[in-house]
Symmetry: D2
Subunit: 145 residues, 4 copies
């Protein structure tokens, strides 16, 4: 049994996105995201604000475009797969909470944007068979309901 | 019993976003979104591509910024509440599938963007108590994990 | 570009689930689900309750077990893929909103349940490669964090 | 800015659910959930199975019914709010990943169930105004589409 544990969050980019290219030529961009939530505290009977912290990671074309577009302090929306991992480097151990981004953009609740399209066909960041055969709709031919 | 039926989708903006301001002064922006999915067809034993059509509606600051930023043919990501409504205008009847957007941006899988922040504190588009008391994190003061 | 448009909803089973087996031997169970939401009506300034209607469809083992377990009037939770389809049978036309269920169970917010496990390894209802290689965790061997 | 970071996951109940009632009379049930996912490993070029671990917490009626219905080794589906928390007890520090359940049931992909309804109106586990005014639909009066 397995499933994609998809999640979407909006939040504040809390670190300058770090862009690397691996020895194999894979572009990767990552940053920390602070996503605020509110929770009803049963003890005090009040709403309290809390923050979930995520490490956001993007690959390939999304990594390149994110690196060119997103900076620290920006407000973004991210959709992707949640990964919770325990790690142990011998000296210390912990848990990391990561979202492997599939879609990512600025949140226009907070500002305006100018978009420049760089790809006609999406270079999929994840080699699932469900994404390889996709074709793009031709906007001018779309019949509206 | 009630719940928010939250959904997020990525897709192609298929109509020029229409921006209006109601008599009460409420800004509203709406457009049609074509969101492709793939489905395994049990009859043919093949993956087929299908498209879900949504009417996206944004209010207030998000409506203003979306109108200023998003055009027909763009690739966007939208998070919001799904509403399925049966309608009947006497002559015809049908079902509309609408997403009331809470977050919306261009999808950087498809291009790059330049973002200009217009608000320091989000003007909430939905008057839920869970959103009114929010304060913004100060990026420079954020302690990273 | 394509993505799974995953959704989860809780609601009331509004029709007696209908169970069929196709000529090819595929078990299918379907029913209508009424899922209530609340919406802030900007005109009246009040919260109003509305209902989203979905057709829920399950296949294979999930279809068999759902048919054996779920009745009209029950409260259930469903996770699956959203499909919005326009149809036209020559005489009439309309839009159907369907969820192809991947997981489905009673919602214990509303009652208690007695569960009888019928499968040791999940018979996947969708032949995605991401689900075929799965192995089941051995509960007694799980190391807890 | 704040939002509910809703998530739904299916998985294996890895610990016997622990049921307590606080001094204030609040019922709480919690357990650990192992949720398998598959990830494409770019290094090896293969799909690998990984497991996300969550602490599931239910309150009030859902806590009572979950405690009466769910055991270690069961397969369940959970919808709720994700909370990522850093903790530090002086001696050790870490990160916990918790889902505050809003809906929870057995997953009928894996077995059958017998459901006994205990409440006519849902006792909401979270005092949001969006949930207090709800009324239940009368199944027999529902008009089907």
């Amino acid at each position: 049994m397995s499933q994609d544990q998809n999640i979407f969050v909006g939040g504040l980019v809390a670190t300058t996105p770090r862009h690397i290219i691996t020895a194999d030529g894979l572009p990767i961009t990552s940053f920390r995201l602070a996503a605020s939530t509110q929770r009803f505290d049963r003890g005090s009977g009040k709403w309290v604000e809390e923050t979930n912290w995520y490490t956001i990671t993007a690959f390939k074309q999304l990594a390149i475009n994110t690196s060119a577009s997103v900076g620290k302090g920006d407000r973004v929306v991210v959709a992707g797969k949640l990964r919770v991992r325990d790690w142990d480097n011998g000296e210390r151990a912990g848990t990391s909470v990561e979202i492997e981004a599939e879609m990512l953009g600025h949140d226009y609740s907070w500002g305006t944007g100018v978009f420049t399209r760089t790809t006609l066909v999406r270079e999929v960041s994840d080699p699932e068979p469900t994404e390889t055969a996709s074709t793009e709709l031709e906007p001018d031919l779309i019949e509206l309901g």
